[in-house]
Point group: D2
Chain length 407, copies 4
């Protein structure tokens, strides 16, 4: 019925946050301002700016093409949502950087905002359906006017990739140019300085490294897990060896050996370093251990929300590659697959970015390779089991821990 989910109140519901010891004059002023001034819908949303930003190049050049308007609006909608994603991403990174996550109360915020990012990405994936109502012929009619504008020049998308943690050295170069070459001046600086900041990947990594239970002198999860698995595999092998000779037995033995290999590699720190250097792993060895621990004990109260976080991070990765893939599909329809001017075509370049090289949290996916029967998972002793929340920053005032919002 209305363009928005909020329904105007003539006056504020509650005049003031601080209910204590307040100057009456101040509050009086507040009320009067709300009465006279206030703000209306269009002003609030700055619609004069937002809705005057659709200038068709085809029209400027005297040949107005109807569908260019859709093209512009779609891209502006993408950019609006990219801004929102960056807003959430920065706030989450900030919670990690300032170490507010040591207060477990902030984990709900972290997981909710990461979840929100996934919801936005889902919308962005859907959004292609609108642009796909434009045919290749419709696009052809105004395509020439856009030159040399290009999606490669979307600063926000590059920031988004960088801040999540897409690795520079794993990127596919396009016609031998680095992606940063598309940017100049202020934009180039913004990009470079953002690359200096800790990425979401790095922050999550540090947090995972602190997973309680990893301490060697304490619960020593990793040591216990290794022992259990080695024992378990040995027994499995033993059983097979007792079988009578047969093709089946041979197959099973091969299988067991393979399995042993997989786990031997898991417990070999050098192997990890090697995979890191090749970009096939992205997390530190200790962080990987933390992630596996959270997976195995995800039902422990302490780990329930952390487990949700790991799941949501995988979803971001998945949705980004789905976005890339939907993008590729659309480009195929719009401009075909052939290169226009030598070098690899845009289509082929985009296709190559739909790759695990661009999956930032690839380790979380690959944890599935290292699952074992529940009976092999080290048992928690009651002490560990009960560990209470370390609410280190609590109290003084209830709202203290939402202070990240105000500074």
């Amino acid at each position: 019925m209305s363009g928005c989910p909020f329904l105007g109140r003539k006056y504020p519901l509650f005049t003031s946050k601080p209910s204590q010891a307040e100057e009456e004059d101040e509050s009086q002023k507040g009320i009067n301002k709300a009465m006279k001034g206030g703000i209306v819908y269009g002003e609030y949303l700055q619609l004069d700016k937002v809705l005057s930003a659709q200038v068709l190049q085809s029209q400027e050049k005297g040949n107005k093409i109807h569908d260019e308007h859709l093209f512009i609006v779609t891209h502006q909608a993408y950019e609006l949502w990219f801004k929102q994603i960056l807003w959430e991403l920065d706030s989450v990174r900030d919670l990690f950087i300032k170490n507010h996550v040591r207060d477990e109360r902030n984990m709900l915020k972290v997981v909710s905002r990461i979840h929100r990012i996934t919801m936005i990405f889902k919308l962005l994936v859907e959004q292609f359906a609108v642009l796909e109502t434009m045919t290749a012929l419709d696009f052809f009619d105004f395509r020439e006017y856009l030159s040399p504008a290009s999606g490669f020049q979307s600063l926000q998308f590059r920031l988004l990739e960088a801040k999540i943690g897409v690795a520079d050295h794993l990127r596919v170069p396009y016609n031998r140019r680095h992606y940063r070459d598309s940017f100049h001046g202020q934009e180039s600086e913004t990009l470079m300085s953002s690359e200096q900041e800790p990425t979401l990947l790095q922050l999550v990594e540090q947090w995972l490294e602190r997973t309680p239970g990893l301490e060697k002198e304490g619960f020593n999860f990793w040591g216990k897990l290794q022992a259990n698995i080695e024992e378990g595999l040995k027994m499995e092998k033993h059983k097979v060896e007792k079988m009578e000779d047969s093709e089946v037995k041979e197959d099973l033995l091969a299988d067991r050996n393979k399995q042993t290999e997989v786990f031997t590699a898991l417990f070999d720190p050098k192997r990890h370093e090697h995979l890191l250097s090749k970009g096939e792993r992205r997390l530190s060895y200790k962080a990987l251990q933390g992630a596996l621990m959270i997976n195995f004990y995800r039902e422990e109260p302490r780990f329930q929300v952390p487990f949700q976080l790991l799941t949501a991070l995988m979803e971001i990765d998945t949705l980004m590659t789905k976005w890339r893939y939907n993008h590729v599909c659309m480009v195929h329809r719009m401009i075909g697959s052939k290169a226009g001017t030598g070098g690899s075509s845009g289509y082929q370049y985009l296709r190559s970015t739909v790759s695990d090289r661009y999956k930032v949290f690839v380790d979380l996916f690959n944890l599935a390779t290292f699952l074992v029967p529940r009976a092999w998972v080290p048992k928690l002793n009651p002490n560990i089991h009960k560990f209470p929340y370390m609410a280190e920053f609590y109290d003084s005032s209830y709202s203290s821990y939402s202070s990240e919002d105000s500074d």
Copy 2:
């Protein structure tokens, strides 16, 4: 991989539309301009305006609330898409107003653009999922700063309703105020002048009235249909009357009588006028006949695309009410159902707009009440059957009929 589906070309693919008799100097200029000038992504999309329009009122008032950013971006995205819908809607109305639809070649354009509107509405319905990641508590934290801004003040949404054909007298008043009272000055004028223009409903109505085959002196669809149905119903009744007396027979007779009533009403023009005056029908009697005709003969080449159009118009109606309903659901979560300040609450008002009174093409839905067995549908004679396209504006130049775009 990039923020957009277009891939920059360094130079235009083809320098010029008019391939004939062109001054070389002109074309030379064109090339040079493209070389030097050109336009980059951010400029093209005017991102300086679009991405600087997010000012949090909570922050302005010294109490920055994180989630207000989402609130703003979501509403801006809604407004961007409303603008696109208006763009498509105006172009379609224009094709009807200028009578370009008499050239059947333009029907593909009409149906494609109406279809595009449905795709946008689908996205807008999905989009609520993003805003729903905000909880009532998060909203409460900044809600007071918005006063008195309200979704009732969305000019574009009101234009959209008016241009499609939501009837003024069928609207539900909110606390006894007319919806136009929320607008002042320029906005109010824009709204009033748009209400003077022919609505999509009226234009479709006129077009339906011209459906070939309705002519009394010609194929006389309506007359023939009435005769067939009366004959058919009589035979049905006859069969039942021959049954032995039983409860079943009585039920069947009651059923047949009811059926006869429904169709008698259909063929009564006065009844139609009465329903029109009550707002239960919106199309003229003749247009209703045209719509039914298109339904029955939808497989005739001449009627295939018109039938798609009628289907797409119903979808717009359906999606608008779904949008309204999703809106209501969200408002329920955000502010509860109780009235704040006397009068009906915003929630209750919005709920009352999810009503068939707001369905513009309600007659197209209700056609389903008047379906009959295929054998009762008047047969086309070969003459009618073959009627060729009346391509009245064709030729001179191929692109002539896309001229609506350039003026």
Copy 3:
């Protein structure tokens, strides 16, 4: 690439759950069975049954209508998913009934399964888009063959409503018949016995009543909240009273009085009983207090997952009404709005069920009416703040608490 997300292994990855003290002979048997026997895709999914269940009534009666196949498959898909929802619902109810939720470790399971139900409902809402590719005319062609089959006869849907907690006395009767009258014999019994079991609503209610912090002798949330709100409202009013007389002042005073009324009602247990009896509230007074408490302190570790649960329950309600509304929209297209045989039409009946009377967790939505500034929320003292998890059932064996699955 394949019809499913699983990729066959020739042999099981790990032969056996119980790694301890196992008879070798047993394990040997296990391996051999897996080798020879095993199960293939089609058998596993019993596709012989599932894919042979599409019998067109139109074809049986000698007039095969193509679209009836879609009609059947769509409804079968609905029923399959209803079964899955019931599966999840029963398992969650079981966790509550057996009081396994007192072990907080099970909360992740509860919230994940409720979340899964919402994901299924989302799919079911989408699914209408497929059936909507059938036009009213296509439906008309085979509609007569279905008589007297009717969606009213879907046992699973009724079970689902009953088990969630749709109240019998709040249902809209259809042509004066009770919904249970559509069922006979075994089905009728199943339905009646399911109505004897505790509903999800009742189980959640009991759980909410146990919210830690509600104890009068302890933290006494409700008492403290009432005191704070009364104090807060008094100060608000005081401020306004000091203003000079004006229209503004009068409006504000009226507003404050209204506000006082709302909260006075909240703290009046008799008022609550009255609303309960009218069906406008569904939760006990104590449970309502628990729900509000969880909302206010949702960031406390103990309350993070419970808060997610409350949100997910609202989503189930919302999605069920969206499903109902999409259903209504489709019915409007398929059969029009007019009654066929006296009494209210099916369309009008269905429309009346899209109502808050059918919202089971309506109280959770209406909590939004009772939000107050954060400063009014009683502060937790460090003791409360820290309260550790009561992991009462923990240990003996790690997997003990997943025992609900095996019995």
Copy 4:
């Protein structure tokens, strides 16, 4: 409100199709049967079969795992929808095979059914979201019981691929095995015999080859187009050559040469044969011409619906690859990327099928490479422009052309 969109009628609306010359006794019988017999919801949908087909292997083996139920239901839902897709696909292929498409009245049916397939595929892509609520750990718990069942054994999916036209020689082999090796007995025969039938690709190809306007002695589209393009390119080049020497000029010349190359290749039949043999093109040369013609003249009444068909075919391709890609993403989460038992892993295999080799209508996408300015498109002369529908099968009885449904 009910499990389905149909609302029972006690009696059929119209007793009988054949309204003429009918034996009263017959109709009497019909009525009585409907009264007594009739069919109820559960029977109609054969829910006894459909809802009893969920047998958990984990439960059979004494270790019931909750999530296996979801796994089964999801796959059964996939198979149900695959059956529906095959139903639509076979009916469309039949319309082509019997040459009913020469009666243009059937084109609405063809395009509607292909469109329906795309809507089902959209749902199937969404459906992954439900299965993704299962974590890798949940899957691990019952995964071993499934062996050796595998999605590779989905007969319907293979039929679907084969009938659309996925080329045998373009498939990626999995561990050197042909996909057909997973099937035996009856299934293997069904698969082989379906491979003998004309594929949708072949049928569309034949239809495209008959596009009116391709006749060399007639409008000679291809000849005229070639002439126009050669002339156009020459003029473009001429303009550039007149420029003063500069880097820009050189770039432009290179660009023009490239462009010339692209079109020279297009008009070279041998080049086409070469690409065909490599699998980079799939349509015959003449069919390719027809497709391009329909694209250029899509607004001609005769070509509007055919153009919609080409668009819908591309959408099927796109959605199938999106389905494959979503599948890959889920597999990555469920089992990680590493091979279990030597050879390429299932994940890597599936990933390789998300490839243009599996795009059946790849030529339709690549048409975008051959677009030219509208001025270069050969003008229709009024004769061509007007050509009426060839309604060859029309009349005798109106419903004759829907006879494909009854045999």
